[in-house]
Symmetry: C2
Subunit: 173 residues, 2 copies
């Protein structure tokens, strides 16, 4: 096996569906930004291109983070855990990681026996997925009502922002 | 629903197997320590007891981190991501999180086109799972050859340190 990227991939233990959970952490601050999934090709693309690519389970396709929103994750280092079944991505996050416009996705904290929203959006979420940021001009009517622009902490369970629902035609992030 | 812990649990989107991935991060340094899985009862126990309890997928039982090794994770805060299907545990890790004796499990880094071991054990792993740390005295013969005490980065794929293989009778950590 002469391809170094294949050697990287071989060390990772993908699950029965060919996936591995990937934690994205801002390399310099330590902030945990998000968690998503990678398949073998996503790892290959991430290492080859130097920007993070995930696998969208719902859309069943590669998802280069930032491909629609511009909020790219530059890959600084890929790490692997002791049993090889989780990867930690040290990244340099451009802009915000969360589709809600927040820097990271973990903005709900269990405090005083209730869920508290502990971070506010840094950018209006609608600007992340506006027509201008999508590939190919005006969005089709089917996208007009998609959830992320209006999702809140209380209603987010119905959406899969990091992995768009099959009815969505564009990726988030 | 008057029980606040049940309200916490209800907000979490568990997968088809009733599990949610849980990332453990040291609360003050930001170090990502490990990733494991929780079911509803693991969340309940963690919130009720203030120490992290996971679900061992291989043993199919609750696994209070540190129950055999003493390396307890005190829970400082539980956070939930935007789509509710990943939790972030801010913890105060007593000792080391990794069964190899390292502070965290992500000690392999892809650098210069090869996997580099970037952290050394802080404690000999065999001390984490010695007879003295196990509940109930001398370990049975079946445990004498279990993997973690001799696992290395290069051979760890055969072990499931954070979730012991079904043949193991004791949990790691």
């Amino acid at each position: 096996m002469d391809d170094p990227i294949e050697r990287a991939v071989t060390a990772i233990r993908f699950d029965a569906e060919g996936l591995v959970p990937a934690i994205a952490q801002q390399h310099d601050t330590g902030e945990v930004l998000m968690m998503a999934w990678m398949n073998r090709d996503a790892v290959r693309v991430s290492l080859a291109e130097g920007r993070v690519c995930y696998w969208s389970r719902s859309r069943r396709k590669l998802w280069r983070k930032g491909e629609t929103s511009g909020q790219v994750q530059w890959l600084r280092e890929l790490r692997l855990d002791c049993d090889g079944d989780t990867v930690l991505l040290l990244v340099d996050q451009r802009g915000v990681a969360c589709h809600t416009g927040r820097r990271n996705c973990f903005f709900r904290a269990w405090r005083n026996q209730e869920w508290a929203v502990i971070a506010e959006p840094q950018v209006p979420p609608e600007t992340l997925y506006s027509d201008e940021t999508l590939n190919g001009g005006p969005s089709p009517a089917s996208e007009a009502g998609r959830a992320p622009a209006t999702a809140t902490a209380g209603t987010s369970a119905a959406t899969e922002p990091q992995e768009p629902a099959p009815s969505s035609t564009d990726g988030w992030g």
